[in-house]
Symmetry: C2
Subunit: 277 residues, 2 copies
């Protein structure tokens, strides 16, 4: 999840930090990279904006791919920016800066960037077409807007169990209550049209993520167990009457045994959209 939304309390951000920091341009923006490469060949000094940058791991890897360009990471939450700056420092990139700002009122002039990107952000907000419209506004003519959003409804957990199904349902309910949607991936095309893009300028693809190695499964289950112990799921879920303390405990056990299974995996479809301005 992105933190460019006001619904996640700090507990959630912490619990998701480890998972989020597995993300980079290669695994989360692969659909943009061939276009980025061809744009870079004619203009090495590309300017890229990463909206809802969170802890900045995707932002930093974009900066590595554009050594003669410049990358800006923007997030609604000022408190995540120091972590993003540290991530960039560890990655050894200097052509990057991080700013606080709202994706629905981007603090930039029209036509500032060659590439404007977001990842797992639109799924959490009401009226995501407003963010896409802003992203198009700050893109130069000839530039591109690219977005990749999970389609949470397609999440495939194996093996399933009543506790894991309840977990999925609880997360979906909380996303909906916060104004988000569990079908963002499949809605990218209609959102782009609503934002004013013409159909002929839009390319829609789908990608997947998958956690199946032991390290991936431990990381994924570990993050969720943390949020079930001390994060938003326990705090908000129990308070809202969506889950009981006992169900939290069952879900923790279920994620532990899922991670330990030899044949277990979790995967999800992601919609990927590229808009040529």
């Amino acid at each position: 999840m992105s933190s460019n939304t006001s619904v996640d309390p700090p507990g959630q951000a912490q619990a998701q930090a480890i998972h989020h920091e597995l993300r980079n341009a290669e695994n989360s923006a692969a659909f943009v990279l061939p276009k980025l490469q061809s744009m870079k060949e004619s203009n090495p000094g590309l300017k890229l904006l990463d909206v809802g940058a969170g802890s900045g791991t995707i932002t930093a890897s974009f900066a590595k791919l554009l050594p003669d360009g410049h990358v800006t990471g923007l997030d609604l939450k000022a408190e995540i920016l120091p972590r993003a700056r540290t991530v960039a420092e560890i990655a050894g990139v200097k052509n990057v800066n991080f700013l606080q700002g709202d994706c629905k009122k981007l603090p930039f002039e029209d036509g500032t960037f060659d590439v404007v990107f977001c990842h797992q952000m639109l799924t959490h907000m009401p009226a995501p077409e407003d963010a896409l419209r802003e992203m198009l506004r700050v893109t130069k003519p000839g530039g591109i807007v690219a977005a990749r959003e999970g389609d949470f409804k397609t999440e495939a957990v194996y093996p399933e169990s009543p506790a894991l199904l309840k977990f999925h349902k609880t997360v979906a309910t909380m996303m909906g209550a916060a104004g988000g949607t569990e079908t963002a991936g499949r809605q990218l095309l209609p959102w782009a049209l609503k934002a004013g893009a013409e159909r002929t300028n839009i390319t829609l693809t789908f990608g997947t993520w998958l956690y199946v190695t032991q390290h991936e499964k431990d990381t994924w289950a570990g993050g969720l167990i943390t949020t079930l112990k001390t994060g938003v799921l326990r705090e908000k879920g129990v308070k809202a009457g969506l889950i009981t303390e006992e169900e939290c405990a069952d879900m923790i056990t279920a994620w532990e045994s899922w991670a330990a299974g030899e044949s277990s995996s979790i995967s999800m479809m992601h919609g990927e959209i590229m808009i040529q301005k």
Copy 2:
């Protein structure tokens, strides 16, 4: 769907022919191609078996990719073989032959092939691990078994409508009644383990298919409308009490308006497994 199963009456095979013939190695076996390329470099005379080859379009494109190798297409239904041979002839490939045979009793000696592949077949059968075990048996030591199966439960249709949801549910019910499953993609890993493969020799990935261009949507909706008018959905679905004639008519209208929509799409996750023998 593959025709290497005894559940599809001829009406279904006809209705799906157009959709099936969009398939080729590039769009349906992309996850195998890098491995195939590297195997071909050390052994140009690779022998490949395509199990559940149906009308042979994937088989023929494998044959094109292996000009110095040989490809065998096998299908349970003898009546599809003439079409597969015509497809190969049109494609201009001569290094291919088609045979009738049962994927659970493959008519080959142990260790006959370098590569054994199937696509959208295991999802339709009870005990798919038996087919994978047979596929492993006829693979040479050092060869690979590769399978790609849809995970029908992840099908994402936009926009949704009651008629399209009912359509999805009806197909899922019929798949289940015929001994298949709507979660094949996520089950490839446990099936491979049951078939005797060791975890360290198995690679699981996920891919997607997507129909979003006008041509793709017309082809997809056209095939489904045919099956709703004269194919298995009307014949079997109505007889089994799963759908009414009126619901068939509603579904036809729903697919027509879906195909005509500017922002419509349909996508699905596919599990992809590669087993090193």
